[in-house]
């Protein structure tokens, strides 16, 4: 009997030894190329500039996001990727630093011309441009693209700025499928190269709205509704060769592409493949091994690959750690007692441990400690620190206790906190905050919810929060465009509160803030916008409506097979439109 165990055990150990050998071995990845430009090289410069044509670029993505239809998607990575086959009126240039935050015309000849009170915006589109199927691109196609975004029953995923801003019959228009033959009177096309938007209120930021892929032209005679995303007609350098929902999306050069249409994108590679691979760690492995060239999500590698990259000088020299424009924070629900009192909220601001929060969100490579409500790549950002995060990164217990007495809870209080239980970062952050608040007597009870229904059923339902005494909720946000309105309206304006799917989870309805947003909408000069943005930021932090955690960063791995790699500051990831292969 002893012999039996020994031999069986020997076989078992053999396997274990194999396991350990594999784990303990080196990363064994192919070399990142003869000359690696260095860590963060793509943030301030273009790596591997080249006009070489040909080759295949393979992207991987963990999930088929909301839609590949330019009219129905709300993900920054998709707004980046759809540039391959959809050219909107305006776009973000392929340059870096603050240059990349200021719009340039794409399909349009020039930025829109507003009327005197910013309620009517006129765009002229370039003439002589063609779709991938040879049809000429006219202003009617831009109008139709906007009209179909009203068909929320088929394209639910995209932003709703047109519904909110357009005048005329926009309030009752149901889209071209349900309201067949009906016209959207707020958008007019006086001639084939002019499109005019009539807004229901002054809106100085409308060029940003024009930069959303929803303005990319769509020919009415080729629109197929829900299945359009699998076979869109292209107005960009590439067209869709084949697409299988949730699996692959293959692009080949558009023969009717005119480079004058959008100088910010190029037609270098001869094939672009997007494959869905739900295993995020596997994507990182394939990226580092060179089997694929890009992780389309643009949110950085997972923790396993991150550890590998930062400890390996060769790999680190092929990576970039840009600020993504996204921010992680914790909402404070102003409707849930005792957070109804601003001093209780300020106590939490002081007591929060920024260092452990930074660790929870992935450490220094995944974010830098935040002290403002607005992230750095928003026009008008200015650094300030109301709650001593700089001097007391581990939390200022004394100041917190002082605030507690001011709000009438000198011994602390109990409060619930919501977080997304299927997101490790959220979970760690919730636990970090809970631990940080305990010493001052604030007892946090944690409530985890799945991310799919977090906003629709729980944190985003104000009634649920008040009923269950949940006053804190983890959250994150990326701006629709890089100014304070694009960043903060949906988060902090009183009119943004909705009964379900609410993003103003703080339920903030501060007249000061609301008025500042109105002023911002009407502001015309860039300096005025910057000043008002700064004021909004300051007021938000005074209202202590969020506990800022980190300005998100993403550790991106740069494939050595690609050319023209640069970080686009608005997208906060590599710019896809300029990529080519060696």
């Amino acid at each position: 009997m002893r012999r039996r165990n020994t031999i069986g055990l020997a076989a078992f150990s053999g396997i274990t030894a194999l396991v350990l050998a594999a784990c303990g071995g080196s990363s064994g990845s192919p070399s990142p190329g003869p000359s690696s430009a260095g860590f963060n090289a793509a943030i301030s410069s273009t790596v591997n500039p080249s006009t070489h044509k040909g080759g295949t670029i393979t992207f991987n993505l963990t999930t088929w996001q909301d839609s590949m239809d330019p009219g129905g998607t709300y993900y920054a990575s998709n707004w980046n990727f759809t540039r391959y086959y959809a050219t909107p009126l305006m776009t973000y240039p392929s340059c870096q630093g603050s240059c990349g935050l200021h719009l340039v015309p794409a399909l349009a000849t020039a930025p829109g011309t507003p009327s005197s009170n910013n309620t009517v915006w006129t765009y002229h589109i370039k003439s002589g441009m063609k779709f991938s199927d040879g049809q000429p691109i006219t202003s009617a196609d831009v109008k139709y693209a906007v009209m179909r975004t009203f068909a929320k029953e088929v394209l639910p995923g995209g932003p709703v700025y047109f519904q909110n801003l357009l005048a005329g019959n926009a309030a009752s228009y149901k889209g071209p499928y349900k309201d067949k033959g009906k016209d959207l009177t707020s958008v007019t096309t006086p001639n084939s190269t002019t499109v005019v938007f009539h807004l229901n209120k002054p809106f100085a930021d409308f060029n940003y709205v024009a930069a959303i892929p929803q303005t990319a032209p769509v020919p009415k005679n080729k629109d197929t509704g829900a299945s359009y995303q699998l076979n869109p007609v292209s107005s960009g350098p590439y067209k869709v060769q084949s697409a299988t929902l949730n699996k692959t999306f293959v692009l080949v050069p558009n023969p009717n592409w005119n480079p004058a249409m959008d100088p910010a994108v190029h037609q270098y590679a001869s094939k672009i493949i997007l494959n869905i691979n739900p295993n995020a760690n596997d994507i990182d492995n394939r990226l580092i091994a060179g089997d694929i060239q890009m992780d389309a999500a643009g949110t950085g590698v997972q923790s396993a690959a991150r550890a590998k990259i930062v400890t390996n000088p060769t790999l680190k020299a092929s990576s970039d750690d840009p600020v993504t424009g996204f921010m992680w924070f914790i909402y404070q629900d102003t409707q849930v007692p005792p957070l109804t009192n601003v001093h209780c909220r300020m106590a939490i601001e002081y007591a929060a441990n920024k260092t452990t929060l930074q660790d929870a969100y992935g450490g220094p490579y995944q974010g830098s400690i935040a002290t403002t409500a607005m992230p750095p790549n928003v026009i008008g950002y200015k650094h300030f620190d109301l709650y001593n995060a700089g001097s007391h990164p581990g939390g200022d217990t004394a100041a917190a206790k002082q605030q507690l007495s001011l709000c009438g809870k000198p011994n602390g209080f109990s409060i619930g906190m919501a977080y997304r239980s299927d997101r490790p970062r959220d979970t760690s952050a919730a636990q970090a905050l809970q631990a940080a608040l305990a010493p001052v007597g604030i007892k946090v009870s944690l409530h985890g919810f799945p991310s799919g229904t977090y906003f629709t059923n729980f944190a985003g339902v104000p009634k649920y929060m008040t009923t269950h005494g949940i006053g804190l909720a983890t959250g994150g946000w990326g701006p629709d465009w890089p100014d304070a309105y694009g960043w903060g309206w949906a988060l902090f304006d009183g009119k943004a509160i909705v009964p379900a799917g609410n993003t103003n989870i703080g339920a903030l309805n501060d007249p000061v803030v609301n008025n500042l947003f109105l002023k911002l909408e009407a502001a015309t000069s860039a300096s005025a916008q910057a000043t008002i943005s700064g004021q909004i930021d300051m007021q938000l932090m005074k209202d202590a409506v969020i506990v800022p955690a980190v300005y998100a960063k993403a550790l991106l791995y740069r494939s050595s097979a690609l050319t023209n790699i640069m970080v686009q500051p608005y997208y906060g990831m590599y710019n896809y439109g300029t990529l080519g292969t060696k």
């Binding site: 039996r4 031999i7 069986g8 055990l9 020997a10 076989a11 396997i15 194999l18 594999a22 784990c23 071995g25 990363s27 990845s29 999930t63 088929w64 909301d66 129905g72 709300y74 929320k152 029953e153 088929v154 639910p156 995923g157 995209g158 932003p159 709703v160 519904q163 149901k174 071209p176 499928y177 067949k180 629109d223 197929t224 509704g225 829900a226 995303q229 299988t244 929902l245 949730n246 869905i276 691979n277 739900p278 295993n279 596997d282 994507i283 492995n285 394939r286 091994a289 694929i292 799919g452 229904t453 629709t456 059923n457 339902v461 949906a490 909705v498 009964p499 379900a500 799917g501 993003t503």
Partner: protein, 335 residues
């Protein structure tokens, strides 16, 4: 035998109807018990910034606000008679059996599943052949050489196979064969009809990973079955008749030892055809398993229904085939 099959098929149809009803119930009723309304459910499909009107439109478009039995009846009708669906300028007809349209993409469910089936099928059948052959032969050899070095080593390895989770074995194999030694490409699915060699090359690692687990089980089962069978009196009789030992082992011994294996194999294969979730995830192969995960994450009822019914169908068919096979193998069981 003919009536047996017909009766079983009819019973299977009823079973599938019940499965669909239960899935419906779980999907709608359980959240309702937790206080969720269909409005809340509809916000799930509206994307990042749901306006009230958009949610209501989706609710209506997807038929969520109709009573449960109406939705269920609509679904059954789609399977039997097809469905007309309007998700754009035109109304399209989805011929029977129509599994409906995805809540998230509003594209028909069946073509998605159909494109995933070859992946799962390739994975399941390839792995099953490997584990059956290796597991049974190792089990037989172990039983015949009971107590020998081979037996103990084989059972030791089998212990490892049964204990090591699939994602662990898979990761090790990936790390070694793909990333470290560059012997194999990172797996992507190449259809058999396109390039049989590449199809196998990409699937060999998932096959081995999956087969390792099952082969271990089957080796142990076969060994136990063989040991039991070889002690039976009819084996003694076979030897007493002067049959060569090889005939005794295969014709008399193995055939009897295999009957429980047939049952188990049918069940295993039936379950696997519904999607080898962990294996598909580990290797990034998009089959029914990943389809299931995505359907659940997206709370996409038509997709959930589709894959549940498909998986149930496979299991039902597998059961039926196993029962028929069993009756064929063991004459005592025949009606």
């Amino acid at each position: 035998m003919g009536t047996f099959i017909v009766r079983r098929l009819i019973a299977s149809v009823f079973l599938l109807i019940v499965v669909a009803a239960i899935t419906f119930a779980i999907f709608f009723l359980l959240p309702r018990l937790a206080g969720q309304t269909t409005y809340n459910l509809a916000t799930q499909y509206v994307g990042r910034n749901p306006t009230r009107s958009a949610v209501l439109q989706i609710e209506q478009q997807l038929g969520l606000n109709k009573p449960l039995y109406v939705q269920y009846g609509h679904f059954l009708k789609g399977i039997v008679a097809g469905e007309h669906y309007s998700a754009g300028p035109n109304t399209v007809y989805c011929p029977p059996p129509c599994f409906g349209y995805s809540f998230k993409s509003q594209l028909p469910v069946w073509p998605q599943m159909a494109s995933d089936i070859p992946v799962t099928l390739s994975l399941a059948i390839g792995a099953s052949v490997i584990w059956l052959v290796s597991g049974v032969s190792i089990g037989v050899l172990s039983a015949l050489k009971r107590g020998s070095v081979f037996d103990r080593a084989a059972m030791g390895v089998a212990l490892a196979g049964v204990s090591l989770p699939v994602f662990f074995t898979g990761l090790i194999l990936l790390e070694l064969f793909v990333y470290k030694w560059n012997l194999l490409p990172a797996p992507t699915f190449v259809p058999f009809t396109q390039n049989p060699w590449k199809w196998a090359e990409n699937l060999i690692l998932p096959w081995i990973t999956l087969a390792f687990l099952y082969a271990a089980l089957y080796a142990r089962l076969t060994r136990a079955g063989m040991l039991e069978t070889m002690n039976e009196d009819y084996i003694r009789t076979a030897r007493a008749k002067g049959l060569p030992e090889r005939t005794v082992i295969t014709k008399h011994g193995l055939r009897a030892a295999l009957t429980p294996l047939v049952t188990i194999f049918g069940m295993d294969l039936g379950l696997l055809l519904g999607g080898a979730i962990i294996t598909e995830f580990t290797f990034g192969l998009h089959g029914l398993g990943l389809f299931t995960i995505e359907a659940i994450q997206n709370q996409d009822l038509p997709e959930i229904l589709g894959v549940t019914l498909l998986a149930a169908f496979f299991i039902v068919i597998a059961n039926m085939v196993v029962d028929i096979l069993y009756a064929y193998i063991d004459p005592r069981v025949r009606p």
